[in-house]
């Protein structure tokens, strides 16, 4: 078996006195969609952010494509081929859609920009219609599309998505999940997906981790977790 694209070993991270990650191990192979599910406050967002150096891990290692990126500054990490669409979307509110997309491309060769922009607009035609509107005035769903599109503008090999379906109408959720499936299948992009919507996420992903109290409680293929009694009881009951 080839070495994993991303290897997280014994990762710990804290906010002041609160330790949010208490030794997390995760492996992601190239071309996979891996989902991370868990209750509110389990540490999912912290894991994605701390991989990117915010907050810096207090212990453990993060290896990306064979390179130890633990403790590197965020902007250096984000230049290695990792992009994140973070929790809360974090669109630049006073920049237009177009400017937001341009910001996503700051680390890449400007020569790609037009082509990548075209691709983003094909993926999310709504963004093309809204290209001159300010980010802060977009609807929640539009902001989510923009956050994903902005992350893709840097041509990442590993895409980190934090709850892309949060607060969106089912039809938009389906559309966003479809886009994730497409970029994975067609471009071979590796995706690490944090989701509350465990059922959808497990349907989409190849493998999954369950995080609880800052530790990995369980992991396996999506099919395994979908069939697991504990997972069903804790994350899948009700609503599906």
């Amino acid at each position: 078996m080839t070495a994993p694209m991303l290897k997280i070993e014994g990762l710990r991270a804290s906010y002041g006195a609160i330790e949010a990650l208490k030794g997390v191990d995760v492996e992601i192979h190239e071309g996979e969609i891996v989902t991370l599910i868990g209750a509110n406050g389990a540490g999912k967002s912290t894991l994605l952010m701390s991989m990117c150096g915010k907050p810096k891990p207090s212990a453990g290692r993060v290896i990306f494509e064979g390179r130890d990126i633990t403790g590197m500054t965020t902007h250096h990490i984000m230049r290695l081929g990792i992009a994140q669409s973070p929790e809360g979307r974090r669109i630049f509110p006073r920049m237009t859609v177009l400017e937001n997309l341009r910001m996503g491309a700051v680390v890449t060769d400007p020569a790609h920009f037009d082509q990548d922009l075209e691709r983003a607009f094909t993926m999310f035609p709504r963004l093309k219609e809204r290209q001159n509107q300010r980010g802060g005035t977009l609807s929640g769903g539009e902001q989510q599309m923009l956050a994903i599109a902005r992350a893709l503008m840097s041509r990442p090999r590993l895409l980190l998505l934090d709850e892309p379906s949060l607060g969106l109408a089912p039809i938009i959720v389906r559309q966003i999940f479809q886009v994730i499936r497409e970029i994975n299948a067609e471009q071979g992009m590796t995706v690490f997906l944090v989701e509350q919507n465990a059922f959808h996420a497990l349907k989409l992903a190849h493998r999954a981790y369950v995080l609880a109290g800052g530790k990995v409680q369980m992991s396996g293929t999506s099919a395994e977790l979908l069939g697991n009694e504990e997972v069903r009881a804790a994350y899948l009951e009700g609503g599906h």
Binding site: H75, F92, R94, M95, M103
Partner: protein, 305 residues
């Protein structure tokens, strides 16, 4: 009427100077949310480096005024920018992420330090220089014999300010540094997540603010022909008032605020009393803070983020 026109010319000249300083306040506030109280002192350093530069040009025998001023301007901007950069590195960056008041207290410390440093190294007495740019256009004369003049120096100040504003606007809106600055201003964490070096961007903001303050310092040195180590205090407060009046964080606001403060000060001196001209700025500061804290062009907080 002629008298009024003259005061407007004087006011716009003065306002240009305040606007250039105000941009430094507003940019730093926009990007790290702190009032850089040492900025007035950075402007004072700009005035002193210009003064020294002008003397050096004299010693070197550079007598062609445009060339001399151009070289002084570049040197002064570079040296003052280095001061601005150092202030951020030494006094503010280590305190980032600490409690809100800490950098503010540090700024006051820096301000006192710079004043004393210049006072000791350059002496406390006011430093005069002979006029470098003389003459002007006589625009009109009233029946009572009052002549409105636009001096070459005033024209130089106003034109230079316009040129800098155009260049500056281009930098902010069209260059990658400007985009990085706006990104940091709107969401620093996200800016780093797209690969922007936030610390470097903040440094560059201090550099740009200081360079503009240096230009203001040179203008004032030429305009009044005398400077001392204490000029940063009043000019700083007036430019800060200008930034607040225009809407702190807003670049067009800083320019508008600067021009208004300059005009108000000129008209106040002309029609009320010169002795109390400084009171005008303070009165405006209090009134704005009381009745319109977001300033004239400040952004109302209506965005959903």
């Amino acid at each position: 009427m002629e008298y009024l026109v003259q005061q407007v010319i004087n006011g716009v000249t003065l306002g240009s100077v305040y606007a250039l300083i105000a941009i430094g306040y507003t940019m730093v506030y926009g990007i790290i949310g702190m009032i850089n109280f040492a900025h007035g002192e950075v402007y004072m350093i700009g005035a002193f480096t210009s003064l020294i530069g002008i003397i050096v040009m004299g010693l070197l025998g550079v007598t062609w005024v445009p060339l001399a001023l151009f070289m002084v301007l570049l040197a002064s901007m570079a040296i003052t920018a280095l001061y601005g950069w150092s202030v951020e590195r030494v006094a503010y960056r280590p305190l980032r992420g600490s409690f809100r008041l800490a950098p503010l207290i540090s700024a006051i410390g820096v301000s006192i330090f710079l004043q004393n440093y210049v006072q000791i190294s350059q002496g406390a007495r006011p430093k005069p220089i002979p006029p470098v740019i003389r003459g002007g256009f006589e625009l009109m004369t009233s029946s009572s014999g009052f002549t409105v003049t636009l001096s070459y120096l005033q024209l130089f100040i106003i034109v230079l300010t316009i040129v800098l504003m155009v260049g500056f606007t281009y930098l902010i809106t069209q260059t990658s540094l400007g985009r990085a600055q706006r990104a940091c201003e709107q969401d620093r964490t996200m800016a780093s997540l797209i690969g922007i070096d936030v610390d470097r961007t903040i440094s560059m903001t201090f550099v740009m603010g200081a360079a503009l303050a240096a230009v203001a310092g040179m203008m004032v040195t030429l305009y009044y022909g005398v400077i001392d180590f204490y000029i940063g205090f009043l000019a700083g407060i007036k430019a800060f008032t200008a930034a607040v009046l225009g809407g702190i964080g807003s670049l067009p606001g800083a320019v508008l605020g600067g021009l208004l403060i300059g005009l108000i000060e000129a008209l106040w001196s002309a029609y009320f009393s010169v002795e109390y001209k400084d009171v005008a700025a303070f009165t405006i500061l209090v009134l704005v803070l009381l009745f319109r804290p977001s300033g004239l062009l400040g952004r109302p907080e209506i965005e959903k983020v």
